[in-house]
């Protein structure tokens, strides 16, 4: 009898031991609370994204951390500018009213701030395509002395010293350790959620009941299809290629465009074709922001194109537009404004106390 009791006790003890020995294998299993997975809803009709989050699982905590970093002006050299300083939500994450980017110490760059949305469909970044992966794109503005001007090592130390960052990194990645890899992955998660595919145009294309172009917008759409769509291709409204549109070279900026990246003279004055989505909200226009008004852009294509050896054949002779066509095109481009992007509360600035 006594032996039987002992046997049961020892067997039970063995089971406990087994459970304990194997527990560490399951530490990251579904039982324990961790970052909550998030699935992006992609606009219908869009191609498969280039960046697919397989190596950077999208989570609520990761996105929240990326958003905090994006709006943290303290990360710049003199605590003045954040990513969101130049990438303003109401301007479709471009910089309203600023022809050229500017950063710490009042320094000015030599290109305009690109509107950043639908970045997960881009294979290369910046006006010249010099950056080859979304994750490392923020390296440039963070470290450029004309933008945020920080030393990455110092930045990581600064973040590690802030309990709010330690807590948020733990929530997103499991431990308080702050590494550049985690930081860039978090920013990528937040920027990846800036998706624009829900404008009035999209509703009309998807045949949402009640959605329709006005007669002028309809004509504008036809003008777009005939004269713009070859480069500003649907549904992203860019074919993501690099082209010279014949914009006259400015000696003061001396920007050779993609040739700087490839070293190939055939790429002289070529820049990435920007998307026309949210175009009316994201002025100024061109890689150097030289046009503040979209009608200046129409005028340029109508009679300002400079025919050089690299000017794209599609615009070499200009793109003729009558005043009425310009008006109709303008009305169509308005239908590309996506209010669910520029009013999305999940993307708005977070207030960060010093």
């Amino acid at each position: 009898m006594r032996h039987k009791a002992l046997y049961i006790a020892v067997a039970f003890g063995t089971l406990l031991l087994l459970a304990h020995a194997c527990k560490k294998e399951n530490r990251n299993g579904s039982g324990s609370p961790g970052p909550e997975p998030v699935t992006l809803s992609l606009p219908p009709g869009f191609p498969d994204p280039v960046y697919n989050f397989s190596g950077n699982p999208l989570t609520g905590q990761g996105i929240a951390l990326g958003r905090f970093i994006f709006y943290d002006y303290r990360l710049s050299k003199d605590s003045t500018v954040s990513c969101g300083f130049c990438h303003q939500q109401f301007a479709a994450f471009g910089h309203f009213d600023h022809a050229l980017s500017h950063g710490v110490g009042g320094k000015q760059g030599n290109r305009s701030v690109p509107a950043i949305f639908n970045m997960i469909w881009q294979k290369e970044f910046m006006w010249d395509g010099g950056v080859n992966n979304l994750e490392i794109q923020p390296l440039t503005p963070l470290t450029d002395h004309r933008e945020m001007g920080v030393d990455l090592k110092e930045l990581l130390q600064k973040m590690q010293g802030d309990p709010r960052y330690r807590q948020q990194f733990k929530a997103a990645f499991g431990t308080e350790e702050i590494t550049s890899e985690r930081m860039f992955k978090a920013i990528t998660q937040f920027v990846g959620t800036m998706i624009s595919g829900n404008s009035r145009y999209d509703s009309i294309i998807r045949k949402v009941p009640g959605a329709a172009f006005s007669p002028d917008e309809q004509v504008g759409y036809a003008i777009y299809q005939q004269k713009c769509a070859a480069c500003h291709k649907e549904p992203l409204f860019t074919d993501l290629s690099y082209r010279s549109n014949g914009l006259p070279y400015l000696a003061a900026l001396n920007d050779v465009g993609r040739m700087k990246i490839t070293g190939n003279t055939a790429d002289y004055l070529k820049f990435k074709v920007p998307s026309l989505r949210n175009i009316i909200r994201s002025s100024p226009y061109m890689h150097d922001g030289r046009y503040l008004d979209i009608f200046q852009v129409f005028d340029f294509y109508d009679h300002g194109v400079k025919d050089t050896i690299t000017t794209d054949v599609l615009v070499r002779k200009g793109v003729s537009l009558t005043d009425q066509q310009k008006r109709q095109l303008y009305l169509f481009l308005n239908t590309l404004t996506d209010y669910t992007l520029i009013n999305n509360k999940d993307l708005s600035e977070v207030l960060i106390e010093p």
Binding site: V10, E25, G55, V131, F184, G263
Partner: protein, 258 residues
Amino acid sequence: MILRIFTSYIFRCVLICLPILWICGCAKNDKKDDPPPAFYTWMYLDFSHEMNGSQLVRNTKLYTNPAGETFRVSQFRYYLSNFALVDNAGKTIPLASAYFLVNDAVDSTKRLRLDSVPAGTFTAIRFLIGVDSARNNSGVQSGALAPENGMFWTWNSGYIMAKLEGTSDAVASPTHEFQWHVGGFKGPYNVLKTVELPLSFHVGAFTAAIPRFNVAANVDKWFAPNTASFAQSPIIMAPGEAALNIAKNYQQMFSIKN
């Protein structure tokens, strides 16, 4: 009474069964379809940096290059990766994937531990000077490849494979600084160079010793056979002809010393 429990038949049974149960309970976690790896050991490569046959001295020592330019070295750093061994049958066996940033200023970076060395008789070691194109393309990296190490071009994505910096009176700028950042992994300006160094060692099931080799990197090799002059190119900071010429030179800088 208590002592009798320890000598009891049941206790002895349990004592024997415990480890068996424990192994069975966790065995499923260790199960893999691949055959068990036949790796026996690891090996060390100890790097030393030389200039014209004697140890490189940064900042203070004045050197002269074949173009007759005097100079001092302030920084000397390079990436090594994609290590593999060549065995006596001529077969190349890749070692565990690892990326090393060797920095003359940090002694701990000059000892490289290469894992998953299999059994065999080896006649050469192969490696890449730089970071393979896959890692130049696949987003943010960590460890030796982390961007804060200052070996990554932000404006034109890609690693600086090797870096030599210093001052030379041949440079006309006020600081007389030269900065040679050799990088580029695409097309005609791909600077990735593979090195193969002959060596000889055997690893068997009962080998106890860990193979260890001393490798010298001779900085003077950067200047020949392709002419590399500070006056002509004080600053190299982009992929191109100048970077490629230097990479072709430094491909010859390594040698095994024991």
